[in-house]
Structure formats: C-alpha cells, structure tokens
C-alpha cells in the first residue's frame, strides 16, 4: 500500500477490512457519500437498513453473536441522532460496536450547517469513547483505536464522527500508525491476594451461590465456571444476559434470578451464606431493595470494571479482572466443602416451585416457547425484544452455550429484537436464529422486514401478538387497580399479510393444536426469512414477580387477587 494515495473514506474501510470487518450496516446521506463511494469495490459488504436505529441494533446483534465489534455507518444530523437508542442499548449491555457518522465539512462545524448535529456532544454519556476526526492522517490510528476500545476490557460502543472533507481528502495512509491510548487500562488477571481470599471464603461457605452475568459470557469464562461449579458443588443462577455462561440445563443451574426470575433462584438468593457474582453489575432488577439483598451473605464480586465495585453492593471481596482469567486462577486454589444439605434444599425448592403455566384459556406464550425449545433441541440462537415475551422466553428457553441468547437488558429497548436477530444471523450463517418479538416492540423496527427479505437473511420471527403492551398492562393490572392506560394496541396489522407484502413467508397460529405443526414447518422452512404470528392470550401476567423496589424475599410466586401497593422502584 506504500505511497499509494487513498481517500480518508478508503483508508477507513481498509483498516476495517484488515480488522476483519465483513459487514457494515447503515443508511446513506449527503455527509457520508464519500464513504459510500468508497464502499463501491470494497470487500466489505454493506447492508442497507431502512432506519439507522435498525443499523445499530443489527451491528449490536452481530457483536453479541460473535464477540466482535459490529459496525454501523450513517450520515450526519438526523442520521446520526437516529443511532442514539442503538448506541445506548449497546452501552448499557457492554456490547462492542463502532459507529461511523458522516459530519459536515470542518470549516462549517458549529455553524448550524445543513444536517449538522454535534454528535460527539449528544453521545458523550452513552459511548465508551468517541472521536471527531479533523486530520485525515489520523484515520488509520483512530479506526484501530476504535476497534481496540470497543472490544477490549469492558466492551462498549465507540463513535467516529467523520467530516465530509476529511473522508474525501486524499493522502498516503500509514497503516502501521501506533495506537496512542496512554490513559486506557485493561485489567487482566486480578489481584492474587483478593483471589486467594475469595478461594478461602468459598471453601468456608455452607450455602454458596454463584451469580453469572454478561461479563462471564463476554470473557468466555464458561469452561472455568463449569469446572468451579462442579468441583465446589455450588448452585448457579444467571442474570438475563448471563444466560449461556453456565449451561441452564445443568442440574446445578437455577435459571434466572431477580424480578421475573425463578422462585427457586430467588429463594436461594435469600438463604445463601455466600454469593459470588462473576461479571454481573448487581442490577436493580436483581437485587431488589438494596438494603435487604442477602444481608447476611458474604459477597464476592468479580468484574473487569473497577467502577462497578461498590456501586450497588459493598462486597467483602472485590476482584477487578477478566472473568475467565480470575476464575481460572481461582480454580487452582479451591478446597471443596460439603454443600450436600444446601443442594438438597435447593432441589426441594426446584421441585416445589417450578415454572409452570396452565393450558386453559387462550394460547399461552409459555407453551409456544416450550415447544420451540423442544423442537430446536435448545440449539437455536434466540434473540428477543423487550416485554412479557422476553421474560417468558428467558424462563422457558434454557441456554447452554455462550452467544446463544441475545436480549436488550440494561436499556430494555423495544424494537431491538428483530434487527438484532438479522445481525446475529449474518454473524452466524450456520446457526438457526430465532427472533421472539412482541407486537409492540416489533412495530418499532419492522421496516427492517425489507432488509431481511432483500438480503434473504433466514431468521425465523415469532411475533407474539396479544394486542397489548403487555408488561405495562401487567403493572397497571397489578399495581394500578387495573386502570389500563395507553396499552391497547388496537390497529395492529395482520402480521402475516404484512410479511407477505415484503415477499416473506408467513403463518398464523391461533390454537394450541396448531403450535407444534406450524412451528415445525417454520423451523424447516428454507426459503429465507419467515414470520409466525402467534395470537396469544390477551391478559396473562408474568410470574414470579418481585415488585420494583421490593426485597427479593417479597417475591410474588403465583398470580394474586390481593391488592398490591404501587411499586417504589424507579421503573
């Protein structure tokens, strides 16, 4: 490449290609045209989305299915601001992403030029880092840094704002330019003293519990965790995003804990004498009322981000480091204790309070998920949107492998699931990818049906249609005396006809008797994307439930007729 002149945009794509980027998702516009021009003839495949938000969720889905940064490319102003929801979603869930935004020419910066937005300013709170490139020679270094920052340490989104005169300027790029990040630290193996202390605490515990989160998935700590669990005979519970860090079909797994977690996981949280979190940030959906969160248990916290230490829970032992490296080291120091009484107790709760549903009334989402789970033999990559269906999916899909569960956790972004599934499918062409979406969230990004159809991305979309914004309806039903407000989705389209209008195969399920047959047909379908509309029971509620702001011990296991106080938690 030496001495060969390239434009800034070409150099941008060159470095991305060297980095292994295969797909870029996005939408063009004036300020980004030089970059789109450079895409012509580039080995990088561009996927035109119908909205910039879709592009970011696709990039995010790709990242969560592969562990490598997804890339979104959009124009300035409104194009850039349409990515904010996707950037924030990735930021909250520590998903690696690089977002390139076009920008007005440097001489017009700050002049309220056409389609100008101060994207750096707008995104500061939701990015890991951002760049406004004002010198074309900086491009190779900046792009390298962006990917390194996005993917290393605690991953997150990085933004590159690229003025049009910079992307079109010609120069001789120095692709060997060194990164310049003197302030950036990536914690590694963790403090040996803290690890030794954790090993000692674990060896002494009578009723230990392991909590695995997204950090455990991201770092690839699976094998090490399995070794630890089986050696120490500790029950494991996972966060919503921690699904897949430890096999959920394993006898020592208790499934998800927290607001809609299993009763037995939450009972174990209340009763344990030690809880060790690996890569979870003790989210408020998990700990409930903080001061009552396993007050008597010894707490060990493993996280790559020092700023998570003491943010929610004051741990007795904090280990800042990569989850895989920390657990691997911990494993060399373990002395198993006898946990058989504790495991008996946990098994008893498992038997006593199983997740269940009744087959009477309308079609239950739980039943549909149960059937999909069985028919896919638990091997599919499951991507969900946000709402009741998400919680039931989390309860009924047992995830055994990392990167097989993709869901918007921290941000709770409606509209995430469907576009994220497209990115996941492109990242994993050999896997079956299933999108589980609600009728509410799906309508926020369903314009991407065109993206799925044109690119023949063979995701299988299950639209759980209960004609309600079900989770809010559930809260209104339980805590606001059933005064329903703003939750009726009157006006829903016929989703099958809608899919067909894009040339996508569709089915509708209305009865229990049709579930197995149609799910089988959809799973076997080979002609590209397809959609199954499931017309569900309108007024089912997700249980167990810990009301927001309540203590874990105040969990409601079964539907209740008693009047409940308004939740005190923030959301």
């Amino acid at each position: 490449m030496a001495e060969k002149k390239r434009t800034g945009a070409q150099a941008l794509l060159d470095v991305m290609h060297y980095h292994g980027v295969e797909y870029v998702f996005g939408h063009p516009g004036g300020a980004a045209i030089p970059i789109f021009d450079a895409l012509v003839g580039s080995p990088i495949k561009f996927i035109l989305t119908r909205h910039e938000q879709g592009a970011t969720h696709m990039a995010d889905g790709m990242a969560r299915a592969s562990g490598k940064a997804g890339v979104a490319l959009v124009t300035s102003g409104p194009g850039a601001t349409n990515t904010i929801t996707g950037i924030m979603t990735a930021h909250m869930d520590s998903s690696p992403m690089v977002v390139v935004t076009g920008q007005t020419i440097t001489s017009m910066l700050g002049m309220d030029a056409f389609q100008e937005a101060d994207v750096s300013g707008i995104t500061y709170p939701v990015v890991k880092h951002s760049y406004l490139v004002k010198n074309v020679h900086d491009i190779p270094r900046v792009v390298k840094e962006a990917f390194y920052l996005a993917e290393s340490g605690r991953p997150g989104p990085v933004l590159i704002d690229l003025p049009k005169d910079i992307s079109s300027a010609e120069f001789v790029p120095d692709y060997n330019a060194e990164m310049d990040l003197p302030g950036y630290k990536v914690p590694g193996a963790g403090d040996p003293e803290a690890i030794a202390k954790a090993a000692e605490l674990l060896s002494k515990a009578k009723r230990p519990l392991l909590l695995v989160g997204h950090g455990a998935v991201i770092s690839g700590a699976n094998k090490a965790i399995k070794f630890l669990v089986e050696k120490m005979r500790i029950p494991v519970t996972n966060t919503l995003l921690g699904k897949g860090a430890f096999p959920e079909s394993h006898e020592l797994n208790l499934g998800m804990l927290g607001m809609h977690g299993t009763a037995y996981a939450n009972k174990a949280v209340v009763a344990c004498d030690l809880i060790m979190s690996i890569g979870s940030r003790w989210d408020d959906r998990i700990v409930g009322r903080l001061k009552d969160f396993c007050p008597d248990a010894v707490k060990i916290h493993v996280d790559i981000d020092d700023a998570e230490m003491g943010k929610m829970v004051k741990a007795h032992c904090s280990i800042v480091g990569d989850a895989r490296l920390v657990v691997e080291e911990l494993n060399t120091q373990l002395k198993p204790a006898d946990t058989s009484d504790w495991l008996k107790q946990v098994a008893k709760w498992k038997k006593q309070y199983p997740l269940h549903y009744k087959m009477k009334g309308g079609l239950k989402m739980q039943y549909v998920f149960d059937e999909i789970y069985k028919l896919t033999e638990g091997k599919a990559v499951v991507v969900t949107d946000v709402g009741q269906h998400q919680m039931w999916a989390a309860q009924f899909f047992k995830v055994d492998q990392r990167f097989h569960w993709i869901s918007s956790g921290g941000a709770g972004t409606m509209g995430f699931g469907f576009p994220a599934s497209l990115g996941a499918q492109l990242a994993r062409p050999d896997s079956m990818v299933i999108a589980i979406v609600g009728d509410g969230g799906f309508q926020m990004t369903l314009c991407e049906l065109a993206t799925a159809a044109i690119n023949k991305i063979p995701v299988k979309v299950f639209v759980m249609n209960n004609r309600y914004l079900g989770m809010v309806r559930q809260w209104q039903n339980l805590f606001y005396e059933d005064r329903l407000s703003g939750v009726d989705l009157e006006g829903n389209p016929d989703f099958v006809k809608l899919a067909e209008s894009y040339g996508i195969k569709g089915w509708k399920i209305k009865r229990n008797a049709d579930v197995r047959r149609i799910v089988k047909e959809a799973l076997a379908y080979q002609g590209g994307p397809c959609l199954v509309e499931v017309v569900c029971e309108k007024e089912d509620n997700v249980f167990p439930m810990i009301p927001a702001g309540a203590a874990v011990s105040e969990m409601i296991i079964e539907p209740t007729k008693r009047k409940l106080a308004k939740p005190t938690g923030s959301t």
Binding site: G121, Y124, P125, H129, P182, G183, K185, D305, A307, K311
Partner: protein, 166 residues
C-alpha cells in the same frame, strides 16, 4: 457510611485533547456533584494537561466519581488528595473600596498577608494575594468592612510533596 458533604481536592492528568473536559465534567454532573473550582493547564509534557478540581459532596459518591474518571480513555489518572499533606496554593485578585483616608489601614492588611497592590485608583485598590485557600478567605474577611467590589480567584492548585505523584 459518610454522607455529609465535604470539599475534596482532586488532581487529574489527562490527554490534551478536545472533548476531554466535557467528558470529565459530565461524570460530576450526572451524579449531581457540584464543582467549586477547576483549573486546567498544560502539563510538563504538552501531550497532557493537568487539572485540579475542588468539588463538594459525600465521600462515597466521590469514590465512584474517581473510578468513573479513571475509566475515561482521556484520563491518565485521577486522585482524591483529601486528607493528604500536600502543597495547596491559590491566587486571588481582590478589588476593594479604598478612599484616601482608609489607604494606610488597607495597606497594613496587605502587608500582613504579604499581598501586593497591583492597581490603585482614587477610591479603589486592587490586591493580588497567593496562598492556601484559607489565607485568601481570611484576607477577604478583613477587607469586607471596607467593601469588596469584586473578587477573582484562580481556584485551588495542588501538588503532592516529595516523589508522590499528583
């Protein structure tokens, strides 16, 4: 748990790049932590800048803020120096009402505090005073009875003693 607000002196070494300041300010703002003073200047190596921030709030929140600051890519290090022995200096310009008949009195105060007169008009005097913040507060108390017209303070500058890094 210590939740009573107190003043903290925080030093930062940061990359000398646009946007660094706003990222730092946002960490404080998001937590509702008030910045009392902020001094920025180039460091010995011009690739970096030095910041001294004096901020008010509870200790627990500040610990989180320091961690969040250290997480920023542009921040080389951030440290709270509260309770440490360190050199702490501030400069203030004080304009005080000073008719001719009061000049001798005011000049006695100037002399006591080893301040300097940097401007004089018929009925005002401008003083320059340096020292720790307490010293500046003290001279202001003394000058108040003559009528302080205006004050400009640099904000606290701190440096650790000996080989300790600031």
């Amino acid at each position: 748990m210590n939740n009573s607000p107190e003043s903290h002196a925080i030093s930062l070494l940061v990359s000398n790049k646009p946007g660094a300041l706003i990222r730092i300010a946002l960490v404080f703002a998001r937590r509702g932590y008030n910045i009392d003073s902020l001094v920025v200047s180039p460091a010995t190596d011009e690739k970096f800048a030095r910041m001294t921030i004096v901020a008010n709030g509870d200790k627990e929140t500040l610990e989180q803020i320091i961690k969040q600051l250290n997480k920023l890519v542009d921040v080389i290090h951030a440290r709270d120096h509260t309770g440490e022995v360190m050199v702490d200096k501030e400069l203030a310009l004080i304009k005080v009402q000073c008719p001719i008949e009061k000049r001798t009195e005011v000049l006695q105060i100037v002399e006591y505090f080893k301040a300097e007169t940097v401007d004089l008009t018929e009925d005002t005097m401008m003083l320059q005073v340096t020292g720790d913040s307490e010293r500046i507060n003290s001279i202001l108390v003394m000058l108040n009875k003559y009528g302080v017209v205006d004050t400009v303070r640099s904000g606290k500058l701190i440096m650790s003693r000996g080989h300790a890094t600031t």
